[in-house]
Symmetry: C2
DNA sequence: CCCGTAGAAATTCCATGTATAATTGATTTC
DNA sequence: GAAATCAATTATACATGGAATTTCTACGGG
């Protein structure tokens, strides 16, 4: 018993160590605590996390496939991270393909799925009224990811999950933006109704609109940030 | 010298063993020689390829991130592969985002890039006249991948390369289809001219059309295949 | 003072050993 | 004869050792 109690990793259940190391590094890169340009040292990381070098190596190889680090043979891994241009690009890409996911979800909707999707939006509204920010964000994620899974395309789902993951931090921030959440929920409801009605065209149109609005919001947010930072970066 | 001469892997230059194993397995999965449902045995593969288990493990972790295998903790990796639905999905996804890549490429075109892109299409036409099928296919890949790189979006490029890679086999097959190559080259030229003119709208429109046509072609090809196989699969 | 170079330290890369979990198959029991 | 149990085999997961490569540092020549 007591599989691994030493270092930083004391986390979750059945997952392998490689996965946990991967997730921890990914989170660090995506939330900025591991900076772009930095390079990942196997031995150092393995000591910090209290695991051997093997799972760290595996995690780094995994990060490379996600394009979060660049791996130079015999030299190591440098962090790529997600900069502002990446963020804007991701939103642009989402406007193009997340609409497709909604379209497919609408075409493949069932009663059970209608119920679940509606419940998510209802819950989000409830949390909004109660001002539970953490849960609002959680429901926002869940709404989009549920649509990803309901589109029933392994490949599209996989791509969208990656994108979604990449911008998670900024989605949370935007909850705090004045007025955005209320609008977002209203937009979710429009998407929901279109999907439940099986109206692919409308579902796509509403989703494209929703993401464009989110993108507008991001741009405002980034401008605030850069003026706050005195034009740095 | 003579880094590794034993087993199946005698390949390339500076790449690490993990990468070579990864590429070999990826190729096998994508060209169907490793079937979906099959599961990958570390020891067996390492013996076949004449390497130790470590690089095989790393390669498998990499394949998981590409969604080409599913990894069940303590049980191993089962091949997912790319089935017909995946293929059709990939073409659908491409119609949505490859147009965006062309749009951005048009917005960021330079004289040097104009020259290179034009040369690729000219070469492809030349090889078509000469009936060099291998080179036609090569130029087809190069045309699209060059646009991916000219769109100057790390994230979009990465996604499109993955998709492109996934359908490589079918792109090659479609070269052999009667009349497709000639049309494809004509379509490439339309995309080329739009990009060179810096006309993002037109570049996107032509690209969407091009991929839709390729998709139509794929559907015909798949139908032929399934009737040839007597409705199996 | 700068540049090049040789040796040492650090780091990646691959191989192999060991523990733990899953699977198989034989044996027993009802 | 079927189901259950437990030992033996197999496979994965993680750790560790050692070879190869790169990076750092100190030294000597120009």
């Amino acid at each position: 018993m007591a599989k691994q109690e030493a270092g930083g990793i004391t986390a979750g259940a059945g997952d392998s160590l490689s996965n946990r190391v991967f997730e921890q590094l990914e989170e660090g890169i995506l939330d900025g605590s591991i900076q772009p340009g930095e390079n990942l040292n196997e031995l150092k990381l393995s000591l910090e996390m209290g695991v051997s070098r093997t799972p760290v190596r595996e995690a780094i190889r995994m990060l490379e496939q996600k394009n979060l680090v660049r791996l130079v043979p015999n030299k190591g891994a440098v962090v790529l991270g997600v900069d502002r241009k990446d963020l804007l690009d991701v939103y642009a890409i989402r406007t193009y393909i997340e609409g497709l996911a909604s379209r497919w979800a609408a075409e493949r909707i069932t009663d059970e799925k209608r119920g679940k999707l509606r419940e998510i939006v209802d819950l989000q509204e409830f949390y909004y009224i109660k001002s539970y920010e953490e849960q609002i964000s959680e429901m926002d994620s869940r709404f989009h990811e549920t649509i990803f899974s309901y589109c029933e395309s392994r490949r599209l789902e996989h791509m969208l999950r990656d994108l979604h993951h990449m911008i998670q931090r900024y989605r949370k921030q935007s909850i705090a933006e004045a007025g955005r959440t209320e609008k977002a929920i209203a937009e979710h409801r429009l998407i929901l109704e279109a999907i439940c009605a099986g109206d692919g065209d409308e579902a796509e149109r509403q989703t494209v609109g929703h993401i464009n609005n989110a993108r507008e919001n991001l741009i405002v947010l980034l401008e605030k940030e850069s003026s706050a930072n005195g034009e740095r970066e």
